[in-house]
Subunit: 131 residues, 6 copies
């Protein structure tokens, strides 16, 4: 029930094909998933979103698996069904074990709980933790 059609490679303008080609090369797969095919209806959003995602999710001070776990934690908090499924797969591809997934879920659930205890009781930030 996507609100816009999927743009397939063969029907795509050159600027969209260029992004699809880079997705394939970066991920070493022929598969381009529906997220990008929908964004392709607006080539500027496709280009911008892919460039940002590629840069942010690359290895850096944090390794790619840790980044995927953080991404999943946010997606679970926001209840993004699409993102949970695709990044669960991506995280598994980068080495996430069932135990890691379960622990990420437990931390995410805990933080959602404790966030409300803190926001609700409204205690001041301790002097020593103020930056």
């Amino acid at each position: 029930m996507a609100l816009v059609p999927l743009v397939e490679y063969d029907d795509a303008p050159p600027e969209v094909r260029a992004v699809y080609d880079d997705i394939r090369a970066t991920r070493r797969t022929d598969y381009v998933n529906n997220f990008w095919k929908v964004l392709a209806n607006d080539p500027a959003t496709l280009r911008r979103t892919w460039a940002q995602t590629k840069e942010v999710m690359a290895a850096g001070a944090l390794d790619p698996l840790v980044k995927e776990l953080i991404y999943l934690a946010v997606s679970v908090t926001n209840n993004c069904e699409y993102c949970i499924h695709t990044h669960h797969a991506a995280a598994k591809g980068k080495g996430m074990t069932p135990a890691m997934f379960a622990e990420m879920m437990a931390v995410t659930a805990l933080a959602n709980e404790n966030n409300r205890l803190a926001n609700g009781y409204r205690m001041d930030v301790d002097e020593r933790y103020r930056a």
Copy 2:
């Protein structure tokens, strides 16, 4: 402007003191932060929340620093001021560098953005990512 008073050690009933003692021993510090002192108004919530937090945040398949980063990502997504300050400090204590913090923030922000692109365009989950 906390909604309830802080419960200090000297005024606390034995069940609260026992939790405070365990917080101090586990964290190897004399300091008990305001979160626990506020929860202590309801000793059952204090006991339960500490037990869960201690268990979930301990080393396991994920190391404690990765857990702190996930906790921070959720707290930033939910805008919990208290949690952001205290877990920022906790993460630094476990080895988070400024570069790691910046990358956690970038991934968190990216996921919040992409979550809305996926939820808004409402593309179907690709067949291959369905569990």
Copy 3:
């Protein structure tokens, strides 16, 4: 899988019919969508919600299409599947082009990202922007 049955016109009490009639007249259509048919299980909620929606979404200092775009941006942020589909249709009926929809989505996604950067880094509001 609605939690309550849909209330159809022929089975509705007079106070519900009056609201349905006003929806039809205001929107110049015979169609009453499921949102109202579900709310009709509680006639007070139906009356109140329709009256407020009719008043708030009417032309004023902002034109109805701009209001629909704002409504969509909130619905995407909150991930309300029903609201996204119905207000996407409503916005198209008021002149929203595919390019407008794509730009609304891009602004909504951007704001969700930047909101977390600001909430997470916790910079003070600049003196000049304080009201």
Copy 4:
């Protein structure tokens, strides 16, 4: 209480100065607000966030004031204090009147309410609104 220091122009590396210069030129002001000065601690995030913000908020199928209203609606929904203050100022600079602000607020509040009625009662999307 920002978690990282503000990076001032005189202390900034060339890549940060280049972004500050572009912010000033684009906005025709000497002022660079705290959001960017905090992001400058991670030059890659600064560059990426500014480039995206500049592109997305520019005139297109929607005019810049409408984009500011959408940005505000999301920031209010997410409770981003910093973003509300700065984009309230930005919207006023682009012609937002008090009446427009009040109507944006009314639509935002209404959508937040109706989103929960729809998500809670869980009515199916009407056949005709499915894309």
Copy 5:
């Protein structure tokens, strides 16, 4: 730091005074709190919001204290500082004890946690719970 000025009774137009008078009569107090004084900048929003609030929060199938507890639970979930403080006071005025407040907080925190476990693991709704 409100974005608009507070409208005081002596400076208010008749339609605003009428709402203030009704707030005072309904609540049996001379005090009108800042929420209404800010909404009064847009008399239509003031009138609509007060009428709805008065109707929804009145005794019905649920008693007013239960309604205040529900209102608080939502405000804590959404982190509305203003609403938490004012409805905490309102609930106390209607008989909320510290133990009731603590239990409302515990249920709210628990639901926020379990909501993420369910949304994250994405189990199907059991056949018997489908309406």
Copy 6:
């Protein structure tokens, strides 16, 4: 489309069976719903989540039906489909009438609306409501 398999009683390790047995005894039913069967993939999360849920939702200063209504209000605010269905059923089992459900929904929707009015206009908390 759960991300992990359901753990059935006959295939479950002793620690999981013990929790299932306690769920059945506490609820006086043979039925164990999918939430627990999914959590059982991580026995520590299952044990912890059940213990907390059992303790928090038990009768105390608030009766179990009021707790279910609060739980539902949070689940509606967060859009947890699974939780809405199961706790709607649980609340009915504890005496929730259609009128009570409709009023809980109305309060939840109202609070979500008013939360944004307060967060958006950013009025200060009245001196008298500061704790």
